[in-house]
Structure formats: C-alpha cells, structure tokens
Amino acid sequence: MYLFRLAMASLANRRFTAILTAFAIALSVCLLLAVERVRTEARASFASTISGTDLIVGARSGSVNLLLYSVFRIGNATNNIRWDSFEHFANSPKVKWAIPISLGDSHRGYRVMGTTEAYFEHYQYGHQQNLQLASGREFASDPFEVVLGAEVAEALHYKLGDKLVLAHGVAAISLVKHDDKPFTVVGILKRTGTPVDRTLHISLGGMEAIHIDWHNGVPAQGSGRISADQARNMDLTPQAITAFMLGLNSKIATFAVQREINEYRGEPMLAILPGVALQELWSLMGTAEKALFVVSLFVVLTGLIGMLTAILTSLNERRREMAILRSVGARPWHIATLLVLEAFALALFGVLAGLGLLYLGIALAQGYVQSTYGLYLPLAWPSEYEWTLLGGILIAALLMGSVPAWRAYRQSLADGLSIRL
C-alpha cells in the first residue's frame, strides 16, 4: 500500500508525461470499445432489417442474392416470377399474408419498389415494428402515387404533393425516363434505419402503367404511346413481379411451404428464410468487422507500447530516486514492484478515462447516429465481453510493466546506493 502511494507520488511528479501516456491509452480504449459497441449494434440492427417475414421468394438464384435485392435493394434479380405463381402461393391456406415486390426502376439513385397495401400492413423490421407514415397517406387507387422513404424525402427535399419522374433501370444516371407519367408524393414514411428509408414505394398498378407501352425494353414511339390518362383506364394487373414475401399462419409450416415453393412445377423459384440468409450475409461482411476490431486492438497495443517507452525512458533519469529508496531500505523487489504499480496505475487511469470518453461520446452522438445510421448506441454498463477486454488491457499493462521493472531491478542491484549522474 505504501509502495502504491510512492508510485502515485512519483507519477504525480511527472504528471505531464503521465497524463499524456494515460490519455493515449484512454483514446485507444475508447476506440476499441466504440468499435465493439458499433459492431454489436450493427450486427443487431442488421439482423433486424426484416422481421416477421417467414419466407422471401424469388426466381431461382442464390439466397444471398435474393436477400440483397429484395431487402437491401442491392443488385438485381436474375429473372422475374410470374404473377400467377405469386397468386398460387398467396392464396394458399397456409399463408396469412403475401407482399409482392416489383423492382427495376429508380429515381435519382434511389430504388423504386412496386408493391401493394399489404406492404404497409404486414412488412416489419426491428422488433416487430410496422412501417409508419410521418406524413400523408399510403398510395391508393390512382396508379401514379408514390410513398417515399424517409431518407429519399430528406435528401431530395420532397414534400407532399410534389411531382417526380421515375427513371427506367437502376443506374444512378438514367437516360430513359418515364417522364410522360409523373408521380405525386402522397406519403412519407418515418425513419426505420433500414433500406426502406432509401426506397420509393409505388403500387404494382403504377409500375405496370409506366411500362404499359414498352416493348422489348424500349418505350413505344409515336402512335403506340399510351398516355397516363389512358393507362388509368386500362387493366393494370402485372404479368410478372420480382419477388414476394410471405407470412404464414403457423411457423411450423415454414419448411413445408419452403419445400413446396422450391419444388413448384410452374417455374423455378427459390424460397429463403430471412434470418438464415441474413446470417449468411453477415458472415460475409464479418471479415471487415473483424478487421476493424483487430485494428483497434492494435491501437490499444500501440498505446501500451507508448506507456512502456515512457517508463523505460524515465528509468535513467530516475536512478537517483531508486538509489535514495535503496538507501532508506527499499530492496530491489520493492523498486521492481514500484514500476509494475506505475504501469498498472497508468493503464487503470487510461481505461477509466477511456470509459469516460466513450460515454461522453455516446451521450453526444447518440441522437445523430440513430437518426443518420439507424444505430441505437445504448448508454449501458460495459457488457461482460467489454469487461473482459478491459481486464485484458490491464493484464497486458502488468506484463509490459514487468519489462521496466526487471530493468530497474537489475539497475538498482548494480547501482546500489551510489548516485551517479
């Protein structure tokens, strides 16, 4: 205990270096914990991108690909599925609800999704949360109405009643626009922190209407063109959609329905369980996340090496201090203990200050991060895993402290009581 007080007093005497050293450790600890928290939350929020949906169905391809385009709006479907295939399963007695999805158009880089009212009623994310309107209403019987995701409305400054034109295809800059059939913004969704925020939602009828006079991927010319008003009076039931989502009456039936879809004779289709596919996808992205974690571990190591350097550098100028301590009866192991305690104290200050910085950072950034990235960073006590990390850092500091301790031990044996300068 007395040695600890001596170590503290000696550190306080070198407080400028000591504070810098502890601050370097604090920053590295803060970074490590922040990465760990964001990682945990990103994983949790990733897993809750979609919930409540039992099966996602698309044309036969890979499950990750299907998940990417149907939920994350990344990439494209390899093929469409026929409307009657959708109806076949949507009307199955095992199915509680079905949401058709039709993709392929965009608006200034944001994807357009054709769907039905079922989407607003049944699509869920996070902890079984339904989509909610921030303003306006869902699209109704008029085909040329659009409901915007929160980010689309915010980034492009759209408000209710604005007119916008959709572009054919999903490239950021599209040369072919559906400018003969403008859409009116009737609703804006609340922020979800999921890809829904970056989506424009129109009805399947609207999707059909803008392509009604298209043949082989190009718009009709001259007299073949059909105006918006003409389209309104036509049958807008689609021929094909991109994918659909199913909610079942009983979860137990999930695998049976999945097999039924995968073996459907009408056309080759693939049904996936969103949870399983999400896991698969995360394991792909997990490498980046692990790399980030490893980098922050190395930053902590750098902080500790900084401490080691600071202590080792101080040893020479502290020979007098050691010799005085020896002359008043400190034995070489006292000197060694003093240095280990010093390293431990620096690391402990660093860890505590790092925690302080982390909580300060979270408190300040919480709102911004949630509204911008949809990540909720809780101001919670460190998790068991985080405690383990912090404990590991302290143990590493003790081990590192034993290096200068050993040197001081040897030095104080050699120097004895004589004070050399």
Binding site: A9, E321, L325, S327, V328, G329, A330, G416, L417, S418
Partner: protein, 236 residues
Amino acid sequence: MTQALIQLSDLGFSWPGHPQLLDIPAFRLEAGETLFLKGPSGSGKTTLLGLLGGVQKPNRGSIRLLGQELTELSAGARDRFRVDHTGYIFQQFNLLPFLSVRENVELPCHFSRLRAGRAVQRHGSVDQAAATLLAHLGLKDPDLLERRADSLSIGQQQRVAAARALIGQPELVIADEPTSALDYDAREAFIRLLFAECREAGASLLFVSHDQSLAPLFDRNLSLAELNRAATPAEV
C-alpha cells in the same frame, strides 16, 4: 575489549575486470565514535560505503557490523540489516522531491519495522519522531513539514536528510560528503547539529569527505589511503 561497531579485517575488493581497489588489513569504528575519513574521489570510498551497506560483497575478508558478519548474509538479509542499523546522508539531492519533508524523514520507517518501532517507543509516533528530529535540527516551522522537499534550500534539505538518517535511532550514521554543497559557516553548524543528534541517539558517525578543514571537529580522523594498501603511492 568492547565489541566494535564496525570491524573490517583482511578486506579485499575489486570490480570485475579491474585491479584491486581496496585492500584493508584492519579497521574499527567504536560505538558512539565520530570518525572523519578523508578520501579523494576515485580512492574507493564510495565502494567502501557500498560494502559497509551490504550492497556489494567483498572478494575476501570479513565485515562485521554490530557483531554480525555481513558476508554470511543473503542479499535480502543484508538490505534489511542495513536499513535497520544504518542511516545515510549523501552529498546533495538526497530527498525524493515529490514527497513532503515529513514523508521524506519517515521513509526508513516504512522499510524497517525495527526503526519504526524505536521511533514510536521514543516519541509516541513516527510523525512525532520526525517533527522532533527536524525541530532539533533547526526546522521548527510546522508548515514546513508538509511542503515539498524540493521547495527547501540546500542547507535545509541536508538537515532533512540528517533527520531521515537519524529517525528510529540506527547505531551507525554514514555521511558521504554531506556538506560539499554548503558554505563554510553552514558546514560547521551542520556538523555540530549532526554531532549533537548522533550523541543523543547514541549513534556512531562515519563521515567521509575530502575537505580536511572539518577534520579537527571529530573524535578521530583517518585517511583512506593510509588504511588501504591497494592505494597508489601518490595518494599517500
């Protein structure tokens, strides 16, 4: 013949790879005696003090302190024996600058139970022992006790170092050029205070210096070159 406080016989020492530095056939320091040992720098006096403190071990011969043969003790036991029975005063910068004056004086009591026990027995508490010693050495101001050691003048610092050497009544006080940083008047005053306190504590004083002018104040004075057969003729 009474038991000597320090008794060296046939002591030989050399640093590894160097010629013989010390060769002392016989040396005694009696209990309660004050001895002036003259030695220029490089004459091996620091090494001799290291041997007396048990930091180094001689190549041959015997070192007896209070009848205890130091060469028979382990390094740890020599360390303990040193702090229990010896107080040190060095040239200057003797104190840990980051501790208060009082904490500096009390340092040996944290490493020696024997000296802490004696301080408590005589003065009631270690704090009281430190305050009393400092007061005897002319540092009476109670505010001064809690000041940082390096805020004091050199002369004051040396008196604090003396108080630290004397706390808990060690039998031997070794002073290595403690006055070299003081001016002449201050030197004599310091030595008289030191004598008075050593006498009061019943401690012997081994005072090592190259400054011959102080020698007449001591009970006895000796030159290391006379003692040491390994000394070069020029030094004798």
